[in-house]
Symmetry: C2
Subunit: 198 residues, 2 copies
């Protein structure tokens, strides 16, 4: 069960929905802050969920517009949702951020360049935190679990923010010094002689 499938399943669990409606709900709730579900993927995911037997399709005549294909959660779907939620809440997932790779390759930049880049990084985080907080406050009061979502997001953003500030301070102290190490190659103590082009 992928992230996206679980998100769709969660929506259908609230009440029967058709594809286009799901798109609207995702948009209106600002769900794109915490999932990546493109419009183009919704029908694909609904199909997958149907094949898996987690949702059922029914046709519904509408007041206006074309006939809708409305999806309802099945018993198996409810169970799958529950399992998915338990799994999501049971095990923290590692997330692989580009910044880690950027840091691993810091030596390819001058200290100046690193400071410029990370300053921007910090500023974007500040904005993002402010944006989230504003959104939260504009919706007050929210149920506990929604508050938990906001708190979780903000906790991560603020942690990175503090880290960025500390690291920037450190970098400032050596602004004109270049990196304070020889890039020694960790790993591989094997030697190879007989080099030759071919």
């Amino acid at each position: 069960m992928t992230n996206a499938e679980l998100a769709i399943l969660g929506l259908v669990a609230e009440r029967p929905l058709h594809g286009y409606e799901i798109e609207q709900v995702i948009e209106q709730r600002g769900m794109r802050d915490w999932t990546e579900i493109g419009f183009s993927s919704i029908y694909y995911l609904l199909n997958k969920l149907e094949k898996a037997g987690f949702v059922e399709r029914a046709l519904r005549a509408a007041e206006r517009g074309a006939v809708r294909k409305v999806y309802t959660l099945t018993e198996a779907g409810r169970e799958a949702l529950k399992n998915g939620v338990v799994a999501a809440l049971s095990t923290p997932q590692r997330c692989y951020l580009p910044i880690q790779i950027g840091l691993a390759n810091l030596p390819s930049l001058s200290t100046e360049e690193a400071i410029t880049a990370l300053t921007h990084y910090r500023d974007v985080l500040v904005q993002r935190a402010a944006g989230l907080r504003a959104k939260w406050e504009s919706q007050m009061p929210v149920p506990d679990f929604v508050a938990a979502m906001f708190e979780h997001s903000l906790a991560l953003i603020n942690a990175e923010l503090q880290w960025a500030r500390r690291f920037l301070e450190h970098l400032e102290t050596r602004r004109h010094q270049g990196w304070s190490f020889e890039t020694e190659f960790i790993g591989t103590d094997r030697k190879e002689s007989s080099d030759g082009e071919s």
Copy 2:
């Protein structure tokens, strides 16, 4: 430039490497803590990078074993690497964690079940933090930028840990109460009557 491509490019930048060697370095440095590069993908990625003109292939006779195809960074590659690193350090990337979706669907669980799941979540984080710290200490002293990587990872883990602890405390206070809200459906105020099966 994806995460994985940037990571490979960074390794080749340190010194010319062949595919199998890259796998070994990734393994030895424990790089799988912060990137996801399967063995099966390395040659695929090297090919991509070669097509893009970022690395060049040369054959090298070896002391033992088969001839190696050694990849070297090109000028274009060095520039791409630099741009990639600047990009990675300039903009924090949102990362989409299953826990967010779990939280969004917390009402499908009882308070008890949520507490059980999140307790496990917390424990795994504790272990992960301890593991990382141990690895760091075992390598002391490390260059600044490696320390920055450890600090960044630990900052994120600890932030989630604190969040989990606070939320668990909160849940404990309402262990036998069920959720304190009606699940109201946010978004879509549209009505549809004329329902009918078909």
